[in-house]
């Protein structure tokens, strides 16, 4: 991370505060923020636990005639967020490991420390320096430093400082020592000729949050080499508050504030028509949420929930842009909306009016008309799929008999638009080759034909060789 920003005459370094949950990482950085009169940017859950990180920056001090710009961040201590912790630790120039120095918490600290050591061992030389901040020194049961050193197997090489994060004792001193360690690393990088130059890519908590979310979205965190990955920090939370009940999303309504509905005017009219108050909402096994009220559908993928308004707005705009791009292939009466049911819990919804799909039209033809009419409808469906199917597929919209429908003598996409994550994943890929015959051959199975219907349909199709796949689907023995 250490970077020489020559244009602004400063050396940028990053100090990362690591440690088990509830050891005092966030309190330490907030105390530091108070000391320096700097704001701390936090991304935290309603119960106060860090979800992404806390961020504070401070410019002061000198190094080789450059001023020092310190980026101070904490990592989440929760085991399920180990990948975020890893991503942040990988950028550290020095690590302050905050440990609760009470006897009953040392085991947690030891476990987290061994995980941290594995992460640091993976870093190329010069590795970040490590400093242990023994916190909770004012608490009953805080062990002597020698005991802490022995029980955590610190040896003499690791510096240990004492602190009471809640009142700021020892926080500044620990930070200054960590800066020293970071400068040692920067000096080693200079000596090796590998110190990066130029302005840092990330300056500020929101920028880091966006970068982290981008990283997670691209699944890079999931693809860390498994053999190199450290074991996740497993931390018992003896006094952890109960998990907050997972909040139920709230459907978008026509009275949403300006800027949260796209398209602005038509979208609000759609929300008025869709009347969310009468819709029944369900969570799918995938974590997606869906609701329906008559012909109106509401859909929100599990991946479209955000902690920051800015992130939700970015997602909404990106999705809206994509809607605009593929608009010629979409059925009308659609809108997007972002909703915040409770502070810091944003969700983006798409709302659309259900239109008859090709499958629905064909089934209706078979049930309500004659076999001959159904065969004629099949032929028309084949023609439409051949002509319009590839165009819709080229827009990266998945073409199935349920996702497309006939409108004004052409096919349009009538399904819910896939998530941004899906679109990002496939937009660089070639669209799949569409085989209308194969698509239509899926019909017999879903129609659950009676034997007489099956025989009549086979007889009608037998005279037309282009329905070979359909015939095979109707009569596997053929």
């Amino acid at each position: 991370m250490a970077q020489l920003d020559v244009a602004r005459g400063r050396l940028v370094i990053r100090i990362v505060y690591d440690g088990p949950a509830f050891a005092g990482k966030t309190s330490s950085v907030r105390s530091l923020g108070q000391t320096f009169g700097r704001e701390v940017f936090s991304s935290e859950a309603p119960d106060g636990r860090t979800l992404h990180f806390d961020w504070m920056d401070y410019e002061g001090g000198r190094f080789e005639s450059f001023s020092l710009a310190c980026q101070v961040i904490t990592v989440p201590g929760q085991p399920e967020l180990a990948s975020r912790r890893r991503a942040l630790l990988d950028t550290a120039d020095a690590v302050v490991f905050v440990v609760d120095s009470r006897q009953e918490r040392l085991a947690d600290g030891l476990q987290a420390l061994s995980s941290l050591r594995a992460v640091l061992a993976d870093r190329p030389a010069p590795r970040p320096g490590l400093l242990v901040q023994a916190n909770w020194r004012d608490a009953l049961g805080a062990v002597a430093l020698d005991t802490l050193r022995a029980e955590m197997d610190l040896g003499e090489a690791v510096g240990v400082t004492e602190s009471v994060a809640t009142d700021g004792t020892g926080i500044r001193q620990t930070f200054v020592l960590a800066v020293r360690l970071a400068l040692d690393r920067a000096a080693a990088l200079i000596q090796a000729g590998t110190l990066a130059e130029g302005p840092p890519e990330i300056e500020g908590g929101p920028a880091l949050l966006a970068a982290l979310e981008r990283l997670e979205r691209d699944s890079e965190l999931l693809h860390l080499p498994k053999t190199d990955a450290p074991p996740p920090v497993t931390v018992k939370l003896p006094e952890a508050p109960p998990e907050p009940a997972p909040h139920r999303p709230v459907l978008p309504t026509a009275d949403l504030p300006i800027g949260r509905v796209w398209p602005p005017v038509a979208g609000r009219l759609i929300l008025h028509e869709a009347d969310a108050a009468a819709a029944v909402m369900q969570e799918r096994p995938s974590g997606d949420w869906a609701a329906q009220n008559g012909r109106w559908f509401f859909s929100s993928a599990a991946t479209t929930s955000y902690h920051q308004e800015e992130a939700a707005r970015t997602a909404l705009l990106e999705w809206a842009r994509w809607h605009t791009t593929v608009a010629p292939h979409l059925s009308p009466h659609r809108c997007l909306a972002m909703v915040e049911p409770q502070p810091g819990a944003w969700r983006v919804w798409q709302v659309l009016r259900a239109e008859p799909s090709l499958a629905w039209d064909l089934e209706r033809s078979l049930r309500n008309e004659s076999v001959a009419a159904f065969v004629a409808a099949l032929a028309e469906a084949f023609r439409l799929l051949t002509e319009w199917g590839p165009r819709i597929a080229a827009a990266h919209l998945p073409v199935t008999l349920d996702s497309v429908g006939v409108r004004e003598h052409r096919l349009v996409y009538v399904g819910a638009v896939p998530s941004r994550e899906y679109l990002r994943r496939i937009e660089t890929q070639e669209p799949p080759v569409l085989n209308p015959n194969r698509l239509l051959a899926t019909l017999p199975k879903r129609l659950q034909l009676a034997p007489a219907e099956r025989r009549a349909l086979l007889a009608a199709l037998a005279e037309q060789p282009e329905w070979a796949e359909m015939i095979a689907a109707l009569d596997p023995e053929s």
Partner: protein, 120 residues
């Protein structure tokens, strides 16, 4: 023996005291401060780090096998005293005194004794 906070508070007893801080000479960052008034001690700490470094470099270049006891900077209205900690290499005390009220000899003596008692 006194801890950092107590030591800095003791320095406020010096006549003409304006502010004092203990600084890490490697980074120019303050470890602790007391007083300051019109003087921004954070900025002063960083800037005077360069002074200490320059003096050390010069002594090395001159081949002087010696230590800095203290550095005095006399301004029109203030004395700025810099005293590296003998027991903790890389740290120094920075003391700002009002020239009109301070007795320089007493101030240096006081600073020396506080530095001797300081524990970190």
């Amino acid at each position: 023996m006194s801890n950092l906070k107590e030591s800095l508070e003791k320095l406020s007893a010096v006549d003409g005291f304006i502010g004092a801080c203990v600084v890490d000479a490697n980074s120019g960052m303050m470890l602790g401060a007391h007083g300051g008034g019109p003087v921004n001690l954070e900025v002063a700490a960083a800037g005077n780090t360069e002074v200490v470094r320059s003096k050390l470099k010069t002594m090395k270049a001159l081949g002087l096998n010696d230590n800095i006891e203290d550095i005095l900077i006399t301004l029109g209205k203030q004395y700025h005293l810099i005293r590296p900690l003998a027991k903790r290499e890389g740290l120094f005390v920075y003391l700002v005194l009002d020239k009109a009220k301070a007795n320089l000899a007493l101030g240096r003596h006081h600073l020396s004794s506080v530095e001797g008692e300081m524990t970190l």
